[in-house]
Amino acid sequence: MAGIFNFLASPSRFRRLSERLYPYTIFLMVLFLILGLWYGIYSSPPDYQQGETVRIMYVHVPAAWMAMMIYFSMTLMSIFSLVWRHPLADLLAKESAPIGAMFTLIALVTGSIWGKPTWGTWWVWDARLTSVLILFFIYLGHVALIKLFDDEEKGSKAAAILTIIGAINLPIIKFSVDWWNTLHQPASVMRLDGPSIHIDMMIPLIFMAFAFLFYYLSFLFINTQAELYKRRVKKIYLQNLMRKEK
């Protein structure tokens, strides 16, 4: 395990690896997106109670999963960055935050659109919705905090510290539907006694989840590459300046 992290510790090695992986992740994303949309829109039955609006769930649920998954991975990266000073962990966490914020926003907006016909209201202050909104603000705080520092490396370290404190929100989100009597329904897929939804709805859900996962990976790769190239350009620029001085 440690070998992999050591292997990825060199930014240029990571860049080369991600450049090689990037086409595959894009391909897998498009593949799963087409499959997921096909099953989600045409090939799955409407719900007996929710009717056609259930199809919103095929976007909403995977987006909410990704919102939490990305925050969890950011927490791991922050621990890596603070404990082992892994040079890439900061960068990956920094590039993950906007994508995570986007998925959180998608989950909130689609949930609200679904809530209007089903619950009769756009928004309720129940524990699940509120805790996800807090997650969104924590993501925004992460993005803002890095920009506040003049030195980007310091900003990333500060943001890493913030991420770890904010991780206390994750179990609250996950278990909010069990701890409180919420309008939001309890978990139906990630349960100890197995999923309670029908296989016809499970298939598009899983496909969309994979599509979103590969979306995250490919955009993480491309953003990180861009950032690494930006740093290299800066370095070369500085080197040229030094040469001219001589």
């Binding site: 603070l82 803002a144 905090l145 520092f149 310091k154 500060a158 510290i161 206390i168 609250i172």
Partner: protein
């Protein structure tokens, strides 16, 4: 350990003798609570419903105000660096700072709460749950706020930024604290919320000093 209590005592004395800022934060707490009846009407029914939330809201903002200065003066004039050069670790210094901050800013809020309970029109039979939530919640507020406070020292610009970073982290405590009172009033029993609230305190006690110390060291790099 003796140094730890010496440091707590030093900060405590500094607050008592010196600045009026702590007093101002406590006055703000009382004033903010008085604002609620003035702004949202004085009907007793309505007031008794929002009372728990109003008191918690005021407590949150009061600690936001005072937290920003918890480490600032010692960070800026270099006393913090000198303290680290002594035998104490930065983590225990931060813990001592948090303790003295809670004694001077958190504890008064807790002690005042039964009186404010009467002012705002919360049924007096619920004073114990209000007191308990504040007693468990305010130390968590201090501990969780310590890290953003340290970060704001490092950035050098305080105020709004600290609030923006700090508030989302504190919201779970606010929700649980105000929720406990509301659940108790509605007859559901607030003890469940109280358990969750008291789970946050040891976690933040364990994590906060290390993260806040990390944040302070960031400023010295």
């Amino acid at each position: 350990m003796r140094n730890f209590f010496k440091l707590v005592l030093r900060d405590f004395k500094l607050v008592i003798k010196g600045s009026n800022e702590t007093l101002a934060a406590i006055m703000f707490y009382v004033l903010a609570i008085i604002m609620f009846p003035l702004s949202s009407g004085t009907e007793t029914d309505l007031l008794s419903k929002i009372a728990g939330g109003a008191i918690w809201m005021a407590a949150l903002f009061s600690s936001l105000l005072s937290l920003d200065r918890m480490l600032r003066s010692d960070f800026e004039d270099g006393s913090l660096e000198l303290m680290v050069l002594s035998k104490m670790s930065l983590e225990s210094i931060i813990l001592a700072k948090c303790l003295s901050h809670w004694l001077t800013n958190g504890l008064p809020l807790v002690v005042l709460s039964p009186i404010l309970c009467i002012i705002i029109g919360l049924d007096f039979s619920y004073w114990w749950i209000l007191l308990l939530t504040l007693l468990i919640g305010t130390p968590s507020l201090t501990l969780i706020g310590a890290t953003p406070a340290a970060l704001s020292c490092v950035i050098g610009k305080g105020g709004v930024i600290t609030a923006m970073v700090m508030l989302p982290l504190m919201l779970p405590i606010l929700i649980l604290g105000a929720g406990a009172i509301e659940a108790e009033i509605s007859g559901l029993g607030g003890i469940g919320h109280l358990y969750a609230l008291s789970a946050i305190l040891p976690i933040s006690l364990l994590v906060a000093p290390f993260l806040a110390a990390k944040a302070v060291r960031l400023g010295w790099e």
